[in-house]
Symmetry: C2
Subunit: 491 residues, 2 copies
């Protein structure tokens, strides 16, 4: 292979970092913790955006845009929010530079100091609820179902491309409702949208659940999340949907006249997913040869590579390849024909394997004679020869099969890695050796949760929705427990 | 009307501000100079984005994403760029807040001071060329044809919604080429893309031209622009495309091995349009009743309003309206049916006029009897009654006619407001009384340009492409001139 990857079983973390770089997805920038999302990585993000945006609109949401900057004082309004968010952020203190007197480039102009510092948004509840105050007078103004696609900044000390970066791209939905029930319904509806998206597009099975108090979004009454399992046995939170109650309405004094003619505070939700999903996509499916992309999110679904010795052969193959390309595109399939004669077929095969193109077609002189094509699938690395006639339908079916197959594979992996454990030893074995989820009894106290985290680094990923009631004893303390919860190491 | 607008001839500027607010396009935020783009305004931006993004991709470009923050020192690298850009920007100096000891919310943590300040990007040439250095070794790595959709910040003292805001949304293309000619070709190609978009979608005629030195982008060899004329006779620069030569490659040391095997600096372009285009769209077409949107960018192209007295009538009209809605949607037309019984038809008519919906259909009991519908066009405010049979085709044609008509109207207005002037008196009359462009001789010196600006506030908008050579005398100094240029007051 042109670009040798570290194997997953050698060093999973290094494999991931190398893959992101070698597949041209992203790289670190000159600004600590901020990434450059390269065209190939960004094309995946555009596919994610396109599908999610459609799903948001189908569920009645509209997009809007709110300021990047938030006045510092806004963060003090919601008591828990300030603890969770206002700490590690980028602070704008000045609005002008000036040429240095000593000719050393530019320096901050100390006379241009802001009266109140501005925070680069880590999340937008505060500025949005301050805005909603002007939009909402009566129940007739509700619900407000708004989403924003934006960049946000959270100052991170240890960063990893896509998974944890100081700046990242995301969407944040912020809705306002007249009743508690309606807001709760919205919270769960958007969790379901995320789950559907993850399963149908990312091809990643998810567990829907609710977070414990200590893992809750700062300012939320309840945080719902979708949890996925990566190939190294660590969990990754793929998206969250928060029921905010009336907390932000109270903090920003957003009242409305309800149907009964009485003033009440507005009910809120917020929900978001980010470029982190690209990290989940990579770690969920890819292998030692490179990326494995689900066809429904692959920027290029099919690549056609000519195999030739002479220019005449190349010309004839190119003609045939373009015919096939057209017939595929007519079915809505995205195709690249790589007819470059600066690179050998073997180099191209490795390159497109690395980049996770789901289907590769190769055409050689003998294929021309026989009117056949060699078709290789990226997920299983298997090949077969098919007649050109009917190839478009065959490829379409194959893309669908690949999408199903990688989902099924991830599902089997996930299901075989949910371990019911009843003893502390078994718990530690899952967390420290086996990997995956430990489905264990917990006594429900934040203290026990904290001790478990301290001793094993495992956290409660969620309490699954529709979790069966089950009497038992806490895996750590032996105290009575009414249900099992999911613990795991997590990204 | 439900929401009375100031008339354009009373106070154009106030008309604009009121219209932006009352049509729910945008509003000022709690952060000075930063706007909230409301859902209806953002829907227009999404239409603009969608079309431009398609055009960029059709011309071979791909999207990527670069950091929001730029190290301060980067701005000192390109001598002219720093003068033009690094002055009025948002400066991040700290990365943490802490709870105030005296319990007064949060304060900046002085121990978390950045070693080097970060600038919130006012434009991204510096961070991008610093990145390109790692991407380019040989001519085989070229061209790089990248675009970015992003938010940028330029600290503005006097702001107006859409036209001039501290934060705005835009796209910035940044391309890298092996030769001067190829970069120049790209610069002009993207200018053409902007011109085509403005004329075919915004329905605004443009003049393509090149900027004088004093109006040039800081760091460019040449700046090309499209100039449009607003209804108050002021010009508005709709988009710019810059030929950057090797300036940024030299500043960031980006060299490549050319086909001859020699090291050379890379050639560059950059080009951008922003949410300012929404301001141009509003000021170019709208009237005293509200917005006039070109059908090709209108989020809702057709609204259907029922006119009824009884609930039975409403039910029957709703059924008919939904049939019509379906037949329109089958032709790709976006339709809203407003069957609310909380608002009267007259209120709805005024509301949708204000919001610039291109076509309004009204259906009353007599229409039901006759199987007709009343169709009103927003641009001319004229109405007619048409049979329901064939209505979808008729509406489709009408949308096309409206698009053409508002373009033609804007074109006639623009053309009748380009004034050839040969004396200083005539020049001042155009600038100070008549409005529009003064097409006048200029001696070619920055000094004269500056004096004219000082005396009249008029600037040289551009030297039109393919401008005919013409001997003459400068309108201010009487010195010899070889061509006329376009002066105007400008946004």
């Amino acid at each position: 292979m042109a670009k040798e990857l570290t194997r997953r079983d050698e060093n999973y973390s290094q494999w991931y970092n190398e893959l992101v770089l070698k597949a041209d997805l992203a790289e670190n920038s000159a600004v600590r913790g901020c990434m450059v999302i390269k065209p190939y990585g960004y094309a995946i993000w555009e596919k994610i955006q396109g599908e999610l945006d459609r799903m948001f609109k189908e569920t009645g949401h509209v997009n809007a845009y709110f300021p990047l900057f938030i006045p510092k004082s806004f963060f003090s309004r919601e008591a828990e929010h300030v603890e969770g968010f206002a700490k590690e952020c980028a602070v704008v203190t000045h609005y002008r530079l000036r040429t240095d007197d000593k000719g050393k480039g530019v320096v901050v102009d100390e006379t241009a100091k802001l009266e109140e510092e501005l925070i680069v948004r880590p999340t937008s509840e505060t500025i949005i609820w301050n805005t909603y105050k002007g939009w909402i007078q009566s129940y007739r103004d509700l619900p407000i179902l708004v989403n924003q696609w934006a960049n946000v900044v959270r100052w991170e000390m240890r960063t990893r491309l896509f998974l944890r970066t100081t700046e990242f791209l995301w969407q944040e939905g912020h809705t306002a409702h007249a009743t508690r029930d309606e807001a709760l319904e919205e919270t769960v509806k958007m969790l379901d949208v995320y789950a559907t998206f993850a399963e149908q597009f990312l091809a990643l099975p998810v567990i829907k659940g609710v977070k414990t108090e200590s893992e809750r979004f700062a300012g939320a009454i309840d945080t719902y999340a979708i949890e996925t399992l990566m190939q190294d046995g660590k969990a990754l939170q793929g998206g969250t949907s928060h029921f905010l109650g009336q907390n932000f309405a109270k903090a920003f004094d957003v009242k409305f006249l309800n149907r009964e003619g009485k003033l009440d505070y507005v009910w809120a939700t917020s929900w978001g997913v980010s470029t982190r999903l690209i990290g989940a996509l990579i770690m969920g499916h890819s292998d030692d040869n490179g990326l494995v992309l689900p066809p429904r999110l692959a920027p290029i679904q099919v690549v056609i590579v000519p195999i030739h010795k002479t220019d005449e052969q190349l010309a004839a193959i190119t003609e045939k390849a373009n015919e096939i390309k057209k017939s595929l595109e007519a079915l809505g399939i995205s195709v690249k024909y790589d007819g470059r004669d600066t690179h050998k077929p073997g180099w191209k095969f490795a390159e497109y394997e690395l980049k996770g193109i789901p289907v590769r077609l190769a055409i050689g002189p003998r294929d021309l004679e026989n009117n056949t094509v060699e078709i290789a699938r990226r997920d299983t690395l298997t090949k077969q020869v098919l007649p050109v006639e009917g190839i478009a339908q065959a490829v379409k079916q194959l893309l669908s099969d690949i999408q199903d197959n990688i989902y099924r594979k991830a599902l089997e992996f996930r299901d075989s890695n949910i371990h019911r454990v009843d003893t502390w030893e078994a718990f530690r074995e899952v967390i420290e050796v086996k990997g995956g989820f430990a489905y264990a009894h917990w006594d429900g106290t934040p203290e026990t949760e904290a001790r478990i985290k301290e001793e094993t680094k495992a956290t409660i990923r969620c309490i699954p929705l529709n979790n069966p009631a089950e009497e038992g004893k806490c895996v750590l303390t032996g105290n009575p427990s009414k249900q099992r919860v999911l613990f795991a190491m997590a990204y």
